[in-house]
Point group: C2
Chain length 245, copies 2
């Protein structure tokens, strides 16, 4: 077990725990990560982590805080594509592609561990553990986004919201961030709107419906899940796509 009180160890442990499927590689990964880890960087809330179209050759391993991956449209609309939590890797794509066309912004104060990774061939030939982590991360992201596409395309607002709440609960409890039936999160209703692809006002009405039926209760900074069974039932939630073991 790679457990001490160092922040790098904690974040690396979260990462390792996610990658149980790659049994033989999990340890190699942790070794790679530790060898390549550089500074810890603190980003204050609501600051961009990477501006769109910026090229870099580093990865970031999130240690604490919430990060949004989003796109702002010309019309002023915004879509949050995904959110990253402690143990998640950011900018994995920057090692493979010239540019990313999405913004990464810190929703809360965030601290990340910079990992100096070689690009291209060297990455795959010399650091199989890290390469596996990157592939795994992208695969998981892929799977989450595919589920997001289903939600946005074919579920109504009640189903969308219910599904999002189930996902939040699953992802947070996988990293030990759930306290009982309450999700603590830094998202306001506008953030939910931009995740679910609906208007703020409709988010509000949809939360009210959930609240009227005693299924979930929105408060500032937290959501109480009163009936997780109903939430999963409404949205057809099946946690398999998160690949959390």
């Amino acid at each position: 077990m790679y457990r001490t009180d160092s922040p790098i160890d904690k974040a690396a442990e979260l990462l390792r725990r996610k990658m149980t499927a790659l049994n033989g590689l999990a340890d190699v990964l942790v070794r790679d990560v530790k060898a390549l880890a550089r500074d810890r960087v603190e980003i204050s809330a609501n600051r961009p982590i990477v501006k769109e179209n910026e090229r870099r050759s580093q990865l970031y391993l999130v240690e604490s805080g919430w990060v949004f991956r989003s796109r702002g449209l010309a019309s002023g609309r915004r879509q949050i594509v995904n959110y990253a939590l402690p143990g998640d890797i950011l900018c994995a794509d920057s090692l493979l592609f010239k540019a990313s066309s999405f913004d990464l912004t810190a929703r809360t104060a965030v601290s990340v561990i910079q990992i100096e990774a070689p690009q291209g061939p060297e990455l795959f030939e010399r650091h199989p553990g890290l390469a596996a982590a990157i592939a795994w991360t992208m695969g998981q992201e892929d799977s989450i986004l595919a589920e997001r596409v289903v939600s946005l395309g074919r579920r109504d607002s009640l189903e969308k919201l219910s599904h999002a709440l189930c996902e939040l609960e699953a992802r947070l409890s996988a990293i030990g961030l759930m306290r009982g039936k309450t999700i603590e999160l830094p998202l306001n209703q506008e953030d939910f709107a931009d995740i679910l692809g609906i208007s703020v006002i409709h988010v509000n009405r949809t939360f009210r419906r959930l609240s009227e039926e005693k299924i979930a209760e929105y408060r500032k900074g937290a959501i109480d899940l009163l009936d997780r069974g109903r939430l999963a039932e409404i949205s057809g939630f099946d946690p398999a796509y998160l690949h959390l073991g």
Copy 2:
């Protein structure tokens, strides 16, 4: 150059061409692919390639035909998450995860080349080229899905359709499948509905709008792009996310 008339070479060449960013690895990749390539498999139209939740340790490299990655919901609704074209890799995730919760179905007659890939550690330690291809494929898919999320969440039907047409044009011309201004495709309006997350009837209305404004014309089996500039303008299309060089 790896060009002969063998189908494996043609598909591998398409794959290699996509991965220009990984300069040093492209050749390693082709070697890996050729070494691991097994049978060619033909799937007839409208047959499942993989049923949901089936575990395998093979990859498929598409040689010809159109493949849908989709999810059917309990209510009978369907969402097409993405489509794969010649040169694309299928089932990359099956090497990393226990199961995939999406269906792969052949929309046309499809032929794929089976690639026998080791799972887990061995993949990354012994076949860096293939590992890179898998990571790259997942990264590209990831990027496409992120763009899909934006479309589904924050664009109206006209923008969605325009964006989809731009994407189709870009992806098809990257593999040499565009003839002038006409997209030849096996998609009917119901397929478009399930890609765009709107109803068939609305797809019809939206095509009519494009046609009235002389922007694009739907015919069975083909779409004529009369004004690509307008299409890109309407949808804010920027091909960068496809990473096609």
